[in-house]
Symmetry: C2
Subunit: 346 residues, 2 copies
């Protein structure tokens, strides 16, 4: 019997419970813990988890895998508190939107006898909390798997398997890559949304502007309704990357501004708009793939390995081989990407 503990039963932790229940893992008990007893009670009543624990210590005790799904700012403290109670060989993962700080905290606080592998499901909603949880939240969504340097292949593979059990698409990154890329596709978009809402809201013509606005304004400012606690934590734990990409974003706006301002050359504006449209349509039709020998990482048996891991029989030679290859490929891919980025980007 394997035990999986979810610490923090909000939107993400709760959805994980529901998604795992849907996946029906054999011989696995899913235990939930939340610092708010009322949330725990509701999670228990709604069968989000199979059982709840009266304390963090009891929740993680004997757990083969611990998923920390609490807010970023609380994470270091949660790690510290649970550290003495973790089972030797346990895999610890998290769900935070930024990874460098979290990996550093894990290294500082968790015992060497456990394996930390960061995780970040690219899924969410503006509204948070257990009442928003749903089993399908991670379906077909990217799930970043961010191993620490010390993480054993078997532990990495167990988190890959977790992502698959949740219905998500696992995706390898190192912490630096993750935080830079997340700034581009997630944190700067959040800022573009907030700034757009602030721009229009601050105008003296706000009542007219609001009444005149259509679905475009509504959709593009959706992220501005996100929880300020979460946004705040993201911006502070990913400050440099966010500022870097935000600066580049402003650069893109200036390019467009120049094209529009040029009264002689409206052809260039048109060409630029047409190219963007074409590229966006291609992106919607089919996700781009990196050319070259490492473009496909096969996760074929990871879900199985995750189950095996949870029931305590992970350390078999076969699994080691598979995951060793996986981790090697991932590392090679990460190295290559970093090199490309250092060479070409910016």
């Amino acid at each position: 019997m394997g035990k999986l503990a979810i610490v923090g039963l909000g939107l993400i932790g709760g959805s994980m419970g529901l998604a795992l229940k849907r996946a029906e893992p054999e011989n696995t008990e899913v235990i939930g813990y939340d610092k708010d007893p009322e949330v725990m009670q509701r999670a228990h009543k709604a069968y989000v988890v199979q059982a709840t624990a009266p304390s963090l210590a009891r929740a993680v005790q004997d757990a083969t895998m611990v998923i920390v799904a609490s807010p970023i700012v609380t994470m270091r403290k949660v790690f510290e508190e649970m550290a003495p109670h973790l089972r030797k060989g346990a895999v610890v993962t998290d769900t935070a939107s930024t990874k460098s700080d979290v990996l550093a905290w894990a290294k500082q606080t968790l015992p060497e006898s456990v394996h930390f592998v960061g995780g970040h499901p690219m899924a969410g909603k503006e509204k948070m909390g257990l009442q928003e949880a749903e089993a399908s939240l991670f379906d077909d969504r990217p799930y970043c798997v961010v191993p620490s340097v010390e993480a054993l292949p078997g532990a990495v593979n167990a988190v890959v398997g977790l992502a698959q059990a949740l219905g998500a698409r696992p995706f390898f990154l190192d912490a630096d890559e993750h935080d830079s890329y997340a700034a581009a596709v997630s944190h700067v978009p959040l800022l573009t949304s907030i700034a757009l809402f602030n721009l229009v809201r601050a105008s003296n013509a706000w009542p007219e502007l609001a009444n005149m606005s259509g679905p475009g304004f509504r959709d593009l400012t959706r992220l501005a309704s996100g929880e300020p606690e979460m946004s705040h934590d993201i911006f502070l734990t990913n400050r440099d990357n966010v500022l870097h990409w935000l600066d580049r974003y402003i650069g893109e706006l200036h390019k467009l501004s120049d094209l529009i301002a040029s009264k002689e050359d409206s052809e260039s504006l048109f060409r630029s708009l047409a190219e963007t449209q074409m590229e966006r349509e291609q992106f919607i039709e089919r996700l781009p793939q990196r050319e070259g020998p490492v473009k496909n990482i096969e996760f074929g048996s990871s879900s199985e390995a995750f189950m095996t891991f949870l029931t305590g029989t992970l350390w078999q030679e076969r699994a080691k081989e598979i995951t060793g290859t996986l981790a090697e490929q991932a590392n090679e891919r990460a190295r290559e990407r970093r090199m490309r980025r250092d060479l070409d980007d910016d």
Copy 2:
């Protein structure tokens, strides 16, 4: 029997045909014209309009109301071509996304015996063309009504009635206001979307970024898939307003950037994010209303007046009275808003 002509049977013109069919106006014939004969044939077969006309001249001949729903850049030419064939007393309206140029072209090209009232339904899709048309496109969407200075109250009221017959919420603005406000809630949002897609697409890490991106990036870049022809026309016919609001938008981004960069004062960042969230939630719950005596313009009988107008019996004293009051209120409201804007904004 009244005759209503729709010139241009794309997404907007086609949807108007379908919405008018749904509204079942009595004693009204809806005629369609498109420069592409194949589009006209399809519109006729799909009962988007009751009949089509072999030429622009024949389409507008005898029409009580003409709706020009062709691209902005073609509009001046369409006005010129149809001018000699318009019936005396006809109401001409359009559906373009910018209004100052269109009103100027109308003044330059249309005979004084017809009444031009600009229109702009705040509805659309990324995909355009007749095949995308639907009767519900305008349901509960704002519909800007932008009268020329010379427009008679009865003509204004007929366009208000048209908007209501389409299921939309009519909304009075003068051309300057319209173009400034549309820049804020529609054209700059388009640019934020295009710039965000360009930012990420231009990176050497594009394949990774694309695969890692979640629903936020997808939603926020949706407008980047819009037709480049339309965006191009919008930016060129609303250049000054777009550049003005874009500059202010960049200012909002700089404010956020400063808040994030400040290592001493993360409290201010949090307060700012929390305020934005609260304001956005209020906006979603209920549209703000302008305080004061002119806050509600009653359009009560406009739909009826639209029908009366189409059947050629508009010029009754009662209708004149109603619409006179309406137009006065609208003018007063517009004046007041312009004053406020000049005084406080910017």
